[in-house]
């Protein structure tokens, strides 16, 4: 597997047409009402006799936040082709083709509201997948009134008032405790840490989580968390500031890949010799190219490559992870990241719920999904959880992998249980969440 891509002129042009520009324009010129064209159709393979169920994809597809939506839509495209190609989903004795209808919410709450109304009332989707965050509150309101089932990647959207909103895949940032816990056991001589994060809805709760995880592991934080604005381009001053306290561990929090790379490069250039830990390390091969394999040896993070053999464990529920990874890399070279598989993994969960319910109706699927208090999370069976932290048990929490770079390759060291950590240290977590103003009763 090689993630490096070669791009020639013809490939770029190919990319333009492949990325739907020509196809979309043609549909517009043809004067099609175009609602279907806006979505990802099942490659026209749908049989006339089959029923179709529509799924809404309401995420940013253009603008600065598009990197958190668009690659997920690509993943869903592959998911839909595979599922539809093998006969669709079986619900109540009938087979359904799955069709995604996308609406670009530009990460703006008003467009999210408009999009949700369109998806629910005009496209009649049965489930809406979202990134969440700024765009979530108006959609929650609509979901509460229509009973529409909605998913988010950001569990910090969950409150007691969001009964139809689920966070079934990424229980960000709680899983970050697993990396710190593993690190403290594997390298007990590391005693001090510093942390930096972008000042936003992802960075802050994650800082609270890492602070709790460090405290639980007996690691001392030697400086206040350093926040920077998301428009920052030069990370030399940030790294200089972090290294000024001579910490054993530099924690990059849930910095976006765009920040993890320059921060890591700066740590390398400024001669950092200690341990690094981060939530993500997307495109770590490029980080190695910018630093060295020796420098990145032992870098701890939380997102495995999907060609990792450990994903073929019997308890992993993500369908064909290795094939999905290579198919994705083939179609969208260089676009692979966490969101690439997360939306697709939510679809696996939804499919299981719909097939168990014998219905595609949102409330029935939700009931079936949550039956027994457990669900099939991508990384193994997990429980519906969150009452104490989010005020509602709508986050699916179980194992999460701890990933370490060894000899230039990300390796899953082990799967760790988040509920186990929680049962031991929940008071510490709640304390730090409260200090950061991130508890559900502070987020109203």
């Amino acid at each position: 597997m090689s993630k490096s891509k070669s791009r020639s002129i013809s490939k770029v042009l190919d990319g333009v047409s492949r990325r739907g520009f020509l196809r979309g324009t043609a549909a517009g010129v043809a004067g099609a009402a175009g609602v279907a064209a806006a979505g990802v159709s099942g490659s026209g393979r749908a049989l006339a006799a089959d029923k179709t169920v529509k799924i809404g994809f309401l995420a940013p597809l253009t603008g600065e936040v598009a990197a958190w939506g668009l690659p997920g839509l690509y993943g869903c495209e592959i998911w839909a082709e595979w599922v539809n190609g093998s006969g669709g989903i079986q619900v109540g004795g009938e087979s359904y083709q799955v069709e995604f209808v996308s609406y670009d919410n530009e990460y703006a709450p008003d467009k999210a509201r408009t999009g949700a109304q369109k998806l629910i009332h005009e496209d009649e989707v049965k489930f809406i997948m979202m990134l969440g965050g700024d765009t979530m509150p108006p959609v929650v309101e609509i979901s509460n009134r229509t009973g529409m089932l909605v998913s988010t990647l950001l569990p910090s959207d969950l409150t007691p008032d969001t009964p139809n909103l689920i966070a079934p895949c990424e229980v960000h940032p709680i899983y970050n405790v697993t990396g710190v816990e593993w690190l403290a056991e594997a390298k007990p001589d590391l005693k001090t840490a510093v942390i930096c994060a972008q000042d936003d809805a992802l960075g802050r709760p994650s800082v609270a989580t890492y602070l709790a995880a460090f405290e639980a592991a007996g690691i001392e934080l030697v400086d206040e968390p350093l926040f920077f604005d998301i428009s920052t381009t030069d990370f030399a001053p940030v790294m200089t500031s972090l290294m000024a306290k001579n910490p054993d561990i530099i924690c990059l929090d849930t910095c976006y890949a765009d920040f993890v790379h320059p921060l890591t490069e700066q740590a390398f250039q400024q001669g950092f010799k200690g341990q690094m830990i981060s939530c993500t390390a997307d495109f770590y091969d490029q980080m190695i190219a910018k630093t060295s394999a020796e420098f990145l040896e032992g870098f701890v993070f939380q997102f495995p490559d999907f060609d990792d053999p450990a994903l073929n464990e019997s308890f992993v529920n993500f369908q064909k992870p290795n094939a999905f990874f290579s198919e994705y890399a083939k179609r969208w070279p260089g676009e692979w990241g966490a969101v690439s598989w997360e939306y697709a993994s939510i679809m696996d969960l939804w499919r299981a719920g719909a097939e168990a319910a014998g219905s595609v109706e949102p409330q029935e699927v939700l009931t079936a999904m949550k039956a027994g208090g457990t669900g099939l999370h991508a990384f193994g069976e997990a429980k519906w959880w969150g009452q104490e932290l989010f005020g509602i048990d709508n986050a699916l929490v179980g194992n999460w992998p701890v990933v370490v770079i060894e000899n230039g390759k990300a390796v899953i060291k082990e799967y760790r249980s988040i509920p186990d950590w929680w049962s031991k240290h929940k008071d510490i977590m709640i304390k730090h969440f409260e200090a950061m103003g991130e508890m559900f009763y502070q987020r109203t």
């Binding site: 990325r19 739907g20 520009f21 979309g24 324009t25 549909a27 517009g28 099609a32 009402a33 175009g34 609602v35 064209a37 806006a38 597809l61 253009t62 603008g63 668009l70 996308s102 609406y103 670009d104 990460y107 703006a108 709450p109 008003d110 509201r113 408009t114 999009g115 109304q117 369109k118 629910i120 009332h121 005009e122 965050g133 700024d134 509150p137 108006p138 309101e141 009134r145 000042d199 936003d200 809805a201 802050r204 103003g437 987020r443 109203t444």
Partner: protein, 349 residues
Amino acid sequence: MPKGGEAKPTAALWKPALLLIAVYAGLIVLPHLLSFSQKEIAVFLLINVLLVVSYRVLTLTGEWSLGHAVIMGVGAYASALYAKALGVPVPLAMLLGAATAGLVAYVLSFPLFRMKGFYFLIGSFAAGEVIRLLWKRFRDPFGGPKGIKGIPGLSDIEIGTLKIAFWDPVNYYYVCLLVVTLSLVVLYRLERSRFGLTFHAVHWQDKLAESVGVDTRRTRTLAFVVASVFGGLAGALLAHYLGTINPNRFDVEEMVFVLIWVIVGGTSTFFGPIIGVVVLTIVNEMVLREMGVDQARPLIYGAILIASVLFLPQGLESLGPKIKRLFAGRPDRPDRPDRRQLAGEPSRD
């Protein structure tokens, strides 16, 4: 100072009155002809109409601000906090929010009106960014980067069996239509009043205006405050409909859209910005989305912007130096002939 000059031959009032009635009849029927998502778009469009028309008030004095989106946000944040934290009834909170936006603008006018032209443009941007960063930085009461959630909406009205819920886009559309119409009437009258004429005078002939006793600084401040009050009102309308606001909603990108609507529409007439926002919203939110060109949408939108400015300069002609020269000798007549045609008024010449 010339008089406002509202006296017109009664016969000549027929045409505009009929036109106005026809337009409003259309606007009242409109939401029932639209699809669900188009109803939502119509609500946001009405709010944006108020935003651009209020923005134009400031431009009358010749100053262009990059802070208007943030001022809208001040109205939204203030109104939301009054209603949510202090329990002020929503309609009153909206008015107080608008007043707060005006007050903030008044305070800002002291540093900002030391500057003119491009410096004012960028100065207003900096002031706005400082406000936005304060919202991000002070989580209490502004909620930090995630902003404020759970903003109360207008409470439902029950008259016998008839229940009017303002969460419904159609009902809120009528609320907006009413508020925006009243605001537009006020702004329209204001522009025709003595104050409005001094705005124009300050724009085109500020030295001359000063020499006849117009306090240009005070006039600019007045225009800035009035623009901000109504911009803040637009923000309040938005906040209590959406139920959530955050600092990103009022960032420079949003401001760029306001500028685009206003400039593409043109500012020399009262209706220019309205035409701009209506046409461009329909293009961007309906036509381009229907075409299914999601990723290419900004590209096509950008091309349309360029084409409209290059090939349809009507919206812009009043801004060019040509017009400046055209008006140089006639500070007392800010209107251009086509303005009255657009407004459906008879010519006074």
